[in-house]
């Protein structure tokens, strides 16, 4: 039989057909929706989208708005601390869990459990825990330490850390499980070799094991970062953005201007800026990541 070289387009035809819905969704909903949003951010659309062009007006207003600037500051502070602490706590817990302890399953379940709760529940629970009238402050005071002061949610300077506490409580478990999986993937021979060479355990972790867990770190980084940028429900449930503007976030600004202020143009300008921020971080990283993979 004269074998004709099969058309490349038809290779793996069934799987290509199966991928069509997903590809369409990605193109139409994500890319299309994004393009539409960016286009209308140059209009003065109010409640309904209107193609009345105003150039960069919405962006000028956005960057003159105190609330937006405060939101960006808050996101930076929250993001940096959240990244650092969730990795630190997650890795420490995973390393401890990896010491062949008893009841590992039980501990793992307990620590991962908060992740199963929605941000709304987490936010409300921590609102009560941090409430000065019946939360931690009250308990410690009733134990006899009368001057004890712990009231983050009502102090504008540190309210953002009160929110971070709740986010850490919820998110650290996930990082721990990912890290634990990574640690389990490390060959036992490496540990043995390190022990034979007399390398201290902390050094083995820092210089041998962690570099080998690169893929796990990247996964955790992507999950945590995307969670940070879109943080919204936690804020709404825990502080409502207050006191004052001290825990406002960009996502909340976008939502409020879209639905409460009925100013689509302004909201779209905000969301476009959020997209831009993500792209600035993600694109160079993705290029680096994929190029090194191709070489490797």
């Amino acid at each position: 039989m004269a074998s004709k070289r099969p058309n490349r387009l038809f290779r793996n035809l069934s799987s290509k057909i199966a991928a069509i819905p997903m590809a369409l969704t990605a193109l139409v909903v994500f890319v299309g929706g994004t393009a539409w949003t960016i286009t209308y951010s140059f209009t003065n659309s109010k409640m309904l989208p209107k193609a009345k062009w105003v150039g960069m007006d919405q962006y000028e207003r956005l960057w003159q708005t105190k609330r937006w600037i405060v939101s960006i500051d808050n996101l930076l502070i929250y993001g940096l601390f959240m990244l650092f602490f969730s990795f630190l706590i997650g890795f420490l817990l995973a390393a401890l869990m990896d010491q062949k302890i008893r009841f590992e399953n039980t501990f793992r379940t307990i620590i991962l459990y908060p992740y199963a709760l929605s941000f709304i529940v987490t936010g409300l629970v921590w609102q009560w825990i941090l409430n000065p009238e019946f939360g931690v402050q009250n308990i410690v005071r009733s134990l006899g330490w009368e001057s004890f002061d712990f009231n983050p949610l009502y102090s504008p300077e540190i309210a953002i850390f009160g929110v971070m506490l709740a986010a850490l409580w919820q998110g650290s478990g996930l990082v721990m499980v990912l890290m634990l999986a990574g640690l389990r993937g490390i060959d036992q021979e490496i540990w043995k070799a390190a022990r034979v060479d007399g390398i201290p355990i902390w050094k083995t972790y820092l210089f041998v094991v962690i570099p080998m867990m690169r893929a796990v770190f990247v996964t955790a980084l992507v999950l945590i970062t995307s969670g940070i940028i879109k943080v919204y429900d936690l804020i709404v449930a825990q502080t409502g953005g207050g006191p004052g503007l001290s825990t406002e976030m960009p996502a909340k600004y976008v939502y409020d201007y879209m639905f409460r202020a009925q100013n689509l143009g302004q909201a779209f300008a905000g969301s476009t800026m959020m997209l831009l921020a993500v792209l600035i971080i993600v694109v160079p990283w993705a290029m680096m990541e994929f190029r090194s993979n191709r070489r490797g």
Binding site: K46, M47, L48, R61, T65, K66, R67, P132, E133, Y154, P156, G240, G241, G242, P243, G244, L245, S246, D256, Y257, M258, F259, R260, A261, Q262, N263, Q266
Partner: protein, 409 residues
Amino acid sequence: MKLTVSFIAAALLAGTSMASAADLEVMHWWTSGGEAKAVAEFAKAFNATGNHWVDAAFAGPGEQARAIMVSRITGGDPMGAFQFNHGRQAEDLIEAGYLRDLTDIAEEEGWKDIITPSSLLDACTVDGKIYCVPVNIHSWQWLWLSNKTFNDAGIAVPTNWDEFVAAAPKLEAAGKIPMAMGKQSWQQTGAFNVLLATLVSDDIYNKVFADKDAEVAAGPEVFRVFKAAADTRELTRDSNVQAWNEATEMLIKGQAGGQIMGDWIQAEFRLAGMEADKDYGCLPGLGMREVLSVGGNAFYFPKLEDPELQKAQADLARTLLKPDVQVAFNMNKGSLPVRSDVDMKTANACMQKGLKLLAQGRVLQDPNLLLTQDTITQIDDLFAQFFADTTMSPESAQEQFADIIAEAE
């Protein structure tokens, strides 16, 4: 075979006849106890016209309800009628042609003559056409006082804002919080708007909110209002609650002296078994300039194809303004009726004061009627900041306020 056919025919008949019995879906966000009772009065009266009220209540804050209503209307699945705070919120929907013009019904029923104050109908009017039915009046300009708190502290109950501010140190000395206020921005902005309406002349108020005159907004008269807002910030310093009714609870328990809030607060007092003028006092216009800003709720009707439904919409529009329906609804809602010719003898002492002011025409237009939601949100943000940050001076707040007014449409 025959049997099946006749079954299908019967089912089809039943289906069509049910559709033609004009089930009108009405969306609103009145779900708290008193509100639900009030809206049930509308449903009862509407059902009596031979139509059927299909209740589509949204249990959540108004801004979320509004978002859902708008997406249903623009998405091609309109309901029969819906509630909005009337004012500029529906402007875009009207311009885009989604809402039904009610002018013919309004003329036939003579709404122009019966609805007072006339500014309510003006708020429904775009380019000379009427698009909504105002159903009630709520006003914000009230200082509510807890007689128990003042009696406990041994101080005479103040009769105006200045006396109230002067009494604050004595209240504090007696271990009371001078003024209760929830730490939500709409309450803080609300209080500021009240101060603006009552401490300066009508002229200045209108120049700021109606004409958006930034120079007046930055001027010395309005600065007095910002100083009063700073006083308010000081008086409410120890009021660590969020929701407005939690703040009202402090008045009821005799922990706080007063609260600036709209007249819907009376539902809370009524639930607590308190009587107007005996257990709690009310000072319209804070006792300074007796004036009320009138805003409230209105019903809008999306354009529909089905003539049966159109007729049902017209029936509903007529029903909402019938004198007996107005009384039944507003007594439950704690608001004032939109027509002055109805009998409100059973209203309590505070509602009577409000009715008297309406009759005298001592009314201003509510900020909701004059400003867009966009501007209102910006002002909300400003006061959220002002009330949380005690280092922010009244001068700098006024400067930012004037900037917002300058940009307002």
